[in-house]
């Protein structure tokens, strides 16, 4: 019997939950990077339907979970990443192709330009928190290389 897999769509709670599961299953990969206490919002603009929104909650060396991040609840996040679906998909495709984000598709690169994925926050301290934990966050997203698929 042949089992095929398909990738979870990036604009889904299941995608971020799978990343969280991978992080929590491998604490020794994250421990050397140091702990990470951050509530990171994710807002993905879909071309023809409402935005995907989620709050990814990091604590210590793992991920506490993925929660709803409704509009108007931005104060629950330290900061949030906001961009169009195409850019998110492009970033994840690069990770799957190369095993990690490369060139100008790392999160820090994308948010620096800010034209396709922006880093937003109501408080400069919350925004700077993203940079304090950049290595952990990138490693978390790079988990998409091999973990985020389900049987077709």
């Amino acid at each position: 019997m042949t089992v095929t897999t398909r990738h979870l769509p990036v604009d889904s709670t299941a995608f971020f939950e799978a990343l969280a599961e991978r992080m929590n299953a491998d604490p020794e990969r994250y421990r050397p990077l140091g702990f990470c206490d951050l509530d990171l919002g994710v807002v993905i603009h879909r071309p023809s339907s409402e935005d995907f929104r989620a709050l990814v909650r990091f604590a210590d060396y793992g991920c506490l979970g993925v929660e709803a991040f409704p509009e108007g609840a931005e104060d629950r996040a330290s900061c949030w990443l906001e961009g169009d679906l195409g850019t998110w998909e492009e970033m994840v495709a690069d990770i799957r192709a190369n095993g990690r984000a490369t060139a100008r598709r790392t999160l820090a690169s994308l948010v620096l330009l800010g034209d396709r994925i922006g880093l937003r926050g109501d408080d400069s301290m919350g925004v700077d928190r993203f940079f304090r934990y950049a290595a952990t966050i990138q490693q978390f997203i790079d988990g998409a290389a091999d973990s985020v698929s389900v049987p077709a």
Partner: protein, 328 residues
């Protein structure tokens, strides 16, 4: 009384229990005796000069100390030096010019806290401990940029007078508040944004990793400075003017530093991916990023309790920033 470990282990916040955790606003002695111990009445005076909590404290100092310790890294072990590869000459020179500058300026953030550390009252030890982590962080930054300059044949390039004048301004600050404003807010704030650009301009995974790791450290230092200055100003509002004056002078020195073309040209070359499109792509992108850098700096000042938008000497209009629009 018994301190209990939390999920991270046994943190400094976990042991801040009862009177052990009570940090006095005005420490009663100037000794190295541990806060909370039974101390002889006739212990010698160590001559500390910073004896007020508000002169060095920040609300996030426990968190930042633990974070600093947990996120230490090694410039020898944690950079994939084996992935260094030959680069086109103009890119290697640009990388090496940036590394030359950074190996020069990063050491100021070792020297400056070290200069003040021995003057800080031992009852304020959590703040001293955080500053000690900064001393080590910045030594490692000097190390990693020096290593990168030397690992691929480019070597160390230009060091200019304007850079040294800016560093001298920071090093010679009269008070710790002025020193912290010049170093944490102005100097490290701008370097943090340079590190953020670093991940974008990095030609290979080697530079990308270097900038990602140094960026984390720098963001921590800026977070300390921002909330330290806020704490200091909240407890002594008159301090704000003293800090503004230091920043007035520091910003002028930064503008003079910015007229040195070695670094800006190197950044533009890296942003353009080479010299061919440096005018068409590199410099316009650099101008766009400089506006973001300035906006971030003004937002941090605001968070620290210092409204610099109307007062700043930096070229806000040239970079298209409206002084009447709130920075965030």
């Amino acid at each position: 009384m018994r301190a209990k470990p939390s999920s991270k282990g046994l943190t400094m916040a976990d042991i801040a229990v009862g009177t052990y955790g009570a940090v006095p606003d005005h420490p009663p002695r100037r000794t190295m005796a541990p806060r909370g111990a039974d101390i002889d009445a006739d212990v010698p005076d160590m001559g500390y000069l910073i004896n007020d909590k508000s002169h060095v404290w920040a609300e996030n100092v426990y968190e930042l100390y633990e974070e600093a310790v947990a996120r230490q890294w090694s410039a020898t072990r944690d950079i994939p030096w084996g992935e260094v590869a030959p680069l086109p000459e103009e890119l290697e020179r640009a990388v090496c010019q940036i590394c030359t500058l950074l190996s020069e300026v990063e050491m100021i953030a070792t020297d400056l806290p070290a200069k003040w550390l021995w003057r800080i009252n031992h009852d304020l030890l959590e703040a001293k401990m955080f500053l000690a982590t900064q001393v080590m962080d910045e030594a490692r930054h000097t190390e990693v940029f020096r290593k990168r300059a030397l690992v691929n044949g480019g070597g160390l390039l230009y060091s200019r007078k304007g850079t040294e004048e800016l560093l001298r301004t920071i090093l010679q600050a009269r008070t710790f508040a002025q020193a912290s404003a010049l170093m944490h807010l102005l100097g490290e704030g701008f370097v943090l944004d340079l590190f953020r650009q670093g991940e974008l301009i990095a030609p290979t995974e080697v530079e990308k990793r270097i900038f990602r790791l140094t960026m984390q450290d720098e963001a921590r230092h800026v977070a300390y400075g921002t909330l330290h200055l806020r704490y200091a100003i909240e407890h002594d509002p008159d301090l704000a003017e003293e800090i503004h004056e230091a920043l007035d002078h520091g910003e002028q020195m930064l503008v003079a530093f910015g007229t040195q073309t070695d670094t800006t040209e190197a950044l533009a070359v890296l942003l353009a991916g080479g010299v061919d499109k440096v005018e068409e792509v590199g410099f316009p992108m650099l101008a766009q990023l400089q506006a973001k850098v300035l906006t971030s700096y003004l937002a941090r000042c605001e968070r620290a309790g210092l409204n610099r938008v109307q007062r700043t000497k930096l070229p806000v209009e040239e970079l298209g920033i409206d002084r009447d629009v709130r920075v965030a």
